[in-house]
Symmetry: C2
């Protein structure tokens, strides 16, 4: 058995089922091992950013890592932006990155680069393999690191001769790391603040992330809110939110600083649950970075990456918070709009038609902020956002979501600017027959940047500045682009067309794209 096979057998035994791959010559023995070892499914992406984004989506929904397969420093470089988003989502994700054979590096062949240097900024864990006999154990360590908790981006760099050299067999996977127990003092502090809130005189919110937004922990959060009357708020770009009819309702922090400041105004206490205190996405001249009032007390219940569910459970128990009065979203389907399409009408159509149990990949930015609020009373669904703000996440993410959740409908909401970044994902949707229904908000501009230019007080921008945020001249034709990659596509200019096309897309298996001209 060679090193490559010892690695792939180790990963399969450790639960890895999918490899999002774009390999090259230096990964050929790993390709061969994936070919021969049963239990791992390769999914080809035509650009590495598709693979890293898909692995992120897979990890967020499957709660276990997929692996990727990348070609040397430049291939990994192409994956970095979505690895950044994956890190911010605390996704479990294992990168396998090929490198030149150890003895070949000193010749500085054209594709030689500092692979470790490329990996380091976007990896929580990194190791270069030194010999083929160690590859299985290194892979097991990488897999354990990726699994967390919390989920981590782990990068294993494999010189070609370590893949083709001999190995004795697969390695055992280390036992899962235990999660840290809740901090009793932090729990007591939070309970005291929450009790004070329920007696009036304090304005308290729980600012929550990670698993507080799903499953049992979300239920617990709802009980705490009901028992104390405090608000629950999540960050603008959370990794995964379970919401819709029947779920406890959590407010979402707005993107623009003045809106966030307004939402948080008057708070005396903010309890931080698995997230940092809210800050502006960017800095602006003469504006503070923090959006909660200066006088508001920040209480850290759980640090990012910590054990959110046990901490919330401890609080609920201390408060005797039952499930009776939890404020849950009801099921409300709005009527369908008509006339010329705009983002609000798209949001209404989505709210009217979003299927039960859908998984939504949202990179609509300015165009889809309204979709989130509109769908609070849609049937229960999962909502995933662009956690690290690196655009080009939405389409790749949808690939991973559909592979992790083959029985759930996947809807992808995307701005046109960001969708161009990793448009190659459409081809993988087509090849794998993934039932992703993509809505591209075709406003033919980087709308968020036009707004930011105005906000920064740039005066009267001239054509050079405006041209940098304008996607027209020529307009992108999304129907042609999608069809060019084998994805059926239509264009909607009215609400009636949009609703009919979305209904038709949902009724068919496989991918579909709608260019929503807004």
């Amino acid at each position: 058995m060679n090193g490559a096979e010892s690695l792939i057998r180790t990963l399969v035994a450790g639960g890895v089922e999918v490899c999002f791959a774009n390999p090259g010559t230096s990964e050929m023995h790993l390709v061969d091992a994936i070919d021969r070892v049963p239990g791992i499914r390769p999914v080809l992406g035509l650009f590495e950013g598709v693979c890293s984004g898909a692995a992120d989506g897979y990890g967020r929904m499957a709660d276990k890592p997929a692996c990727t397969l990348f070609h040397l420093g430049p291939g990994l470089g192409n994956a970095l932006a979505n690895l950044h988003n994956a890190r911010r989502a605390a996704s479990p994700l294992l990168n396998i990155v090929g490198d030149h054979a150890t003895y070949h590096r000193r010749f500085d062949a054209p594709l030689t680069s500092d692979v470790e240097g490329v990996a380091r900024p976007m990896s929580d864990w990194m190791r270069s393999v030194r010999e083929s006999g160690a590859l299985a154990a290194d892979g097991a360590a990488a897999l354990a690191a990726a699994k967390g908790p919390p989920g981590r981006v782990a990068s294993l760099i494999i010189p070609a001769d370590c893949a083709w050299g001999g190995a004795s067999g697969p390695a055992p996977i280390p036992a899962a790391e235990p999660r840290p127990a809740p901090d009793d003092k932090a729990v007591d502090d939070a309970v005291a603040v929450l009790r004070a809130a329920s007696q009036g005189g304090r304005h308290v919110a729980l600012f929550v992330g990670a698993e507080a937004l799903r499953g049992e922990a979300l239920e617990t959060l709802g009980r705490i809110a009901a028992a104390t009357g405090v608000r629950t708020i999540c960050d603008t770009f959370a990794a995964r939110i379970e919401r819709g009819a029947g779920r406890p309702v959590v407010e979402r922090l707005p993107y623009f600083p003045e809106d966030a400041v307004k939402l948080l105004a008057g708070l005396t206490d903010l309890i931080l649950v698995g997230v940092k205190a809210p800050v502006t996405f960017f800095a602006y001249p003469d504006q503070p970075s923090e959006t909660a009032p200066e006088a508001c007390h920040r209480h850290v219940l759980v640090e990012p990456g910590g054990a959110v569910a046990p901490a919330l459970a401890a609080i609920a128990e201390a408060l005797g918070a039952g499930s009776g009065a939890v404020r849950r979203a009801g099921l409300v389907r709005p009527g369908l709009p008509s006339g010329k399409l705009d983002p609000t009408k798209v949001a209404t159509i989505l709210a009217a038609m979003l299927p039960e149990d859908a998984v939504v990949s949202d990179e609509g930015l300015t165009a889809s902020f309204g979709c989130f609020s509109a769908t609070v009373n849609a049937p229960s669904h999962s909502w995933l956002t662009i956690t690290g703000g690196a655009i080009g996440q939405g389409l790749p993410l949808s690939v991973g979501l559909a592979i992790a959740c083959p029985d759930r409908p996947v809807v992808c909401l995307h701005g046109d600017g960001g969708a161009m970044y990793t448009i190659q994902a459409l081809w993988t949707q087509a090849r794998e027959g993934l039932g992703v229904k993509t809505i591209v908000f075709s406003n033919r501009r980087y709308s968020i940047l036009q707004m930011e230019l105005m906000r920064l007080g740039a005066g009267n921008p001239g054509p050079k500045a405006l041209g940098m945020f304008d996607l027209g001249r020529p307009d992108l034709d999304w129907v042609s682009l999608a069809r060019g990659m084998g994805v059926p596509a239509t264009r909607a200019e009215t609400a009636e067309e949009m609703a009919a096309q979305f209904r038709a897309a949902l009724a068919e298996p496989g991918p579909a794209l709608i260019e929503a001209v807004v």
Copy 2:
């Protein structure tokens, strides 16, 4: 004046005329400065890899740097693969990379990352700006570093508050660095070897790169070869080769190791002129990395990055090498082929129709190796290859070539796999009205990787392995893809169609794409 304006005025005074840009919020004051300062043209790319590849192409032909404008770590990450190619081409290139305001970094907002860490692996020079008053001087230093000699990738990281804070004005550009003089001993050694060669008994080749492949230095090289009878060979992937009718002929090292070994077999001496000794592109089990015979003496005339032209001139003078007997390519136009299209017929059509003074961006890999040999007797032209082997270079490069050389025809030869990587470049071709004629070799596979899989002796690959190198299921429709970005496109399945479509494309201004089904 703010820092941003002081920088842009400095760069314009230093000769920077073009900015290949994909900015975000943290670069808004730089956008505003580009808007207001005359003399710099922003060119929008819809993905950062388009911008870095375009800047590489511009630098290779203009012999001076363009700047780029990128958004934080993830934006720069998207640019890395083509920065790798640019470094390997020794292109002059200045990256401007925005970062969060200095005081905002500690809050770890979602887009925060280690921007220096991302820049380092693919930059020859890097600096983070500390204060707005220093930005102009930092920019001047970065520009000087980029200009070289040799050309370098310089990356300047600019926190947003250093762009919007006050500055006193532009900074002077440091004087150009002097090029090192030729090494007398190395010249004497080479002259002795060349004299011995001309007296018989030694088999000598000059292995050349950099400016030995163009202009006066190429003429000198031709004179030395004529005077001594030695061979001249360039590396497989050279940055820029001037060739075709009237030019001294230089052999090209083949890509596959066994072909390279064969070409170099029997050499007793290899004189290295601005390049390293030839090595295989990748390592293979039980094969040596070096392709020249072990017993062949390597003589370093000029190290990579050194002054090639003066060293060659010194040798020619010592040898008294005149220009009379230089072996130059003649002008030969082959007849047009007919019938079902294949890569050889595309090569013949190119040889028959390549316009005088064309600039060719070649990322055809297996499909275009034949185009290079076929065009040796075409009218004089420039040929640019994928220097670092990071695919996704060809289309972006063509953007920069067309902007650097607005009066020359630009032809882009591209494999389908690589063209998908940075396909967004087609939109920039359309927006800027660039006369790039792109031929996509649509063989619906990563052909080079299928060959490498066989070469590595992977036995009988199964469907999982084959699926990772196959671009079919579904086939990419290049006509739809190009039209979707505003580039007129056609599909050729026969040689007659190909010739007619190429002729029509050359007759029209603006971009065009031909899907050559091979």
